[in-house]
């Protein structure tokens, strides 16, 4: 009897461990993008706004909510991921058509081949950007917080030469991906903050499930273009927009 008990208890701890050490390698994550509309709308005023536009902006601030939230999802398995917006009928008041308040990317990443395909809408134009996955220089910190029930560690990063990123990743999800094109950490990115752009993405739900290979498909449509070409095309188009152009170029390249 006693032996039986011991065996059972051994078995029990084994089960417990299996549960404790549960590692996620495929599933679905829902993210919420939060935009500080009051702050981002100001960028759209450009360098020397007219008195009228300032008044318009002031009125906007008084009448409209400061924060707007947009939903998106990430399907992933060990080697591939697909990030796409979830469209809702809810309308937001986007005063100056700020691209930061829209979701213009569908991001397909092949993590094993380190390649990505991004379907990008820039106003009327549609591009299919083929590039290597984005390189981000990460600094790992000791700080951590919990997101969607997962303990995440903070990393600070720099991408596209100058954009400062704060990201939170979980060691328990062994896929080096994240929302949009954010990637490269030792676990899944469940939170991203671009403090200077007043934007953030946070996971609201993590579902651990098997994702069939054919469920993660490359986006289609749009003019095929490389990342480098896209940048030169856009900067050529926006070069006369002044400070506003610099801002929108930065956002569209995210």
């Amino acid at each position: 009897m006693r032996i039986l008990l011991i065996i059972i208890s051994l078995f029990h701890t084994q089960i417990l461990y299996a549960q404790y050490n549960k590692i996620i390698t495929s599933g679905l994550i829902e993210y919420e993008k939060t935009i500080n509309m009051h702050a981002v709308s100001k960028y759209e005023l450009g360098a020397n706004p007219s008195q009228y536009r300032i008044q318009e902006y002031e009125k906007y601030k008084q009448t409209q909510p400061q924060f707007v939230k947009l939903k998106s999802q990430l399907k992933f398995n060990e080697s591939k991921s697909l990030y796409s917006p979830i469209m809702t009928s809810e309308k937001i008041v986007n005063l100056f058509d700020n691209p930061a308040a829209t979701q213009f990317n569908i991001v397909y990443s092949d993590l094993s081949k380190k390649a990505s395909v991004i379907h990008k809408k820039v106003y009327g134009d549609e591009f299919l950007v083929q590039d290597s996955i984005r390189k981000i220089k990460w600094k790992i910190t000791d700080e951590s917080r919990e997101i969607a029930g997962y303990k995440c560690r903070r990393a600070n990063g720099i991408m596209l030469d100058s954009i400062y990123i704060v990201a939170f990743y979980s060691d328990d999800i062994w896929v080096s991906g994240g929302p949009e094109s954010f990637n490269g950490l030792p676990g899944m990115i469940l939170g991203v903050v671009l403090p200077h752009e007043n934007l953030s993405w946070y996971a609201t739900k993590v579902i651990d499930q098997a994702i069939p290979e054919n469920d993660i498909v490359r986006p289609k449509g749009g003019a095929p273009i490389s990342g480098k070409q896209l940048k030169s095309t856009l900067s050529e188009a926006m070069k006369n927009w002044g400070a506003l152009g610099d801002y929108e170029l930065r956002i569209f390249l995210l």
Binding site: I23, K139, A155, W174, G184, P186
Partner: protein, 915 residues
Amino acid sequence: MRQLLLSIFTCLFSTYVFGQQIFSIQGRVVDSISNVKPASTITILNAKDSILVKFVHTRLNEGAFNITGLYPGKFQLLITSRDYADYTDTFILDALNSKQNFGNINLKLKSSLLKEVVIKGNLSAIKIKGDTTEFNAAHYLMQANASIEDLVKKFPGMQIARDGSITFNGESIKRVLVDGEEFFGNDPTLVTRNLRADMVDKAQVYNRLTDQAKLTGVDDGKGEKVLNIKLKEDKKNGLFGKVEGGLATDQYYSGQAMFNKFTNLSKLSVYTITSNDGKTGFGYEDNNQLGISGDEGLLVSNLSDDYFSNYESYSGVGLPSVRNGGVHYDTKWNEEKQSINLNYKIGLLSITNNENSLLQQTLSPQETFIQNSDHYNYNHVFRQNADFVYRQKINSMSDLKLRFVGGLKNIDGIDRSVTTTTDFENNLLNRQYNSQIIKGSLNAFKAGLFYARKFKKEGRTISIDFLNFYEKSISTNNLQATVFIAQTAQDSITDQQKDNNLASNRSNLDINYSEPLSKNITAIINYKFEVNQSKADIATFNRSAVNEYDVLDARFSSNYKFDQSANQFGGLINYRLNKITVNVGTSLSLVNFDQLNLIYNTRSLYNFTNWAPEIKFNYRGSGKSFDLTYSGSNTLPTISQLQPLTDNRNLLNIIEGNPDLQSSYRNTLRAYYRFSKPISDMFLSISANYSNFINPIITNVYTDINEGRSISRYINLKNEKPEIYTLIVNYSSKIKKLGIRGEFGLSTYNYTHFNYINTQLNKSINNTFAAKIGLSKSKESKYTLSVSAEPNFSISKFSLNPQNNINAAGLNLNKYLEIILGKGFNFISDVNYSYKAETITLPAQYFTMWNAVLSKSFLKQQNLKLSISGNNLLDQKSYTRYTNAGVIGQTNALTIGRYIMCTLTWNFTKFAKTF
């Protein structure tokens, strides 16, 4: 055939690889308790800036990892796994160590580790890695503008005394470093009281090894405990400091200013202090900076002019006044391969003291007399110290370090006393008036060079340490004394001037070579050579008819030249297996000592042989350590024991030399056990020591019963062995339910020693037993209360004068209360009470010291503080008492009494914003 082909291939391939080395690490993650290999994330960061380099994952029960494609540099390994505590370690890859094998890495379940800590945020509060205990400052909520001292006080196991000295877990911390760099030498308060708590990222306590031990990896036991303050990244660039001024009743004052400018690669600090309140600017352990009285190495200790050592520091006796200033600068360049560290200090210290001492001297029950003396003295010292260290990493194999220390010291002093000796029936035996006026100056210079080199074979190293030390002192003493002996009813008058001229030049060469004999065994061979040339010229002049001191008094004049040299050969075998280290070593040194009397042209030659064996056993487990050491060593007689310079400064006590003295031998056995669970704030340490002395050098005092004058001499004791044994147990823990931290200690100190009193041998046995109970409780931003009680009992037995035997109890009580009253108000009250029971010969003694402070902080960042403090509120005076076989004594000195001080403090900061 296939095999052959394959091996040729591999050979070819490996030569190819050699030109283009592969840098990699490997290891295996395990949980040895449950025998599971947890699924883990292994991350490699750049040690310098935490930039992510590489990562891999290991699945459940896979464990092993192997990461290739790295490059030379210093890295941090971070292993994380859900439900387990994070594991970190640093490692270096270079041409020599292109592969690092971590072996089994044992992860610990958080549930077993973090049973009790309340974690704010998500950082682990304490990490233990080998000998290092690391505290995460983010865990401790601090008041605005709190100092590092306030922060360190809150770490478990850490204690800070009133003078700022720090002990961790019962071991005293000798130095405080900032980001691994020396900061103002060895006055820790210049770091702990002047840098701000909010700048600290982490604080680490570890044993800093000597340069040699770092090189060979064999701990030579000469390291010291240090506290290293790691600054936050964003606080490494900026300006900060403070200005403080206080005025008090009875003309006490205190003022200080400190300014710091830090950048990533350099630190500049300037400070100045002026005060007479006995609290600020009296940094302890200042004196060894120059090595003036420091390590004498293998040789017979140098003769030194003891006037200078009397002027070192303030010990709480007398009224002090201080003016100090200093500059610190350190910087690194060339990818941190080269660095300098510079400290300069300048200061004035003066102390005025009046004391009365009462001494009862017993030769036998029938022969007792009483000596009563009143003493006035004024000491003034002006000193400067400069210390410069240059370090260069020549390449990945060799290092160079240069060190220069220079110092100047000028002293001025007056010493006056009246001493009367009476017999038991109060009949006068003698009376002495003594007045001395002293002036002197001392220069010292030290230069050192340390070169270390590693070889391709791991563990093979060589190091060369060369040190030259020069010191010269000149002093003049104007001595006027009148001794009246009642029996002869005669006054003898001394009116002299003494010119003292001392100089010494010492060189040391120390060469160490280490060679690994096998994977676990390393041998170290050591050779030391020391040479010391010194001279001591003391000329005493009597006053002539023309009122000049120009008549040489040959009785009290001497001129000696000392030549010493020593050769030491040593060897050590170090054996290491997992957690166990065993060292077995010995050294033999031959000392030649040649003393030349230049006045009489006589010569004395002495030869000493020193033999110092040592056996050391260490066990280092996680949270547990045990050390057992046996060592033996010779103690050489000092020059003044062999042949003192004739001295008539105190005519009531004359010291005679004994040129036949031999060295004595000391055997020591030491055991030390530590057990700690820092997370639940529990520490236990037990240390036991035993020493005996063979052929010890003891005092032989002959006192003339009729005149009351003494003659002292040193002799070797042949048949008896003095002994010392001590046992100290300390336990501290948290009482969870009450939120109280408790400390309990038991200690006993026992020694037996011998001395001759008027040709009769006396044996003294002393036993002291003490216990300590301390409790403290604190509530964040509300209050801190700590109380402690230390009862003790001491027994002393004297074979010669049993009527002096002591059986006495004592008690010390301490209470510290800090209340945060809100709105920037803060109150501190600190009471110390001590009691010694009466003995047959002395009455009971009570003393209570009560200090209190009320402060209020202003401004948005609370960086302006006004405080009112009361010192020694009950205005009590302390006195010291002592008893031994021949003497019972008591001294009352002038101390700082009650005063009320009003202080204004302004803290300023400006840090650059960085990524």
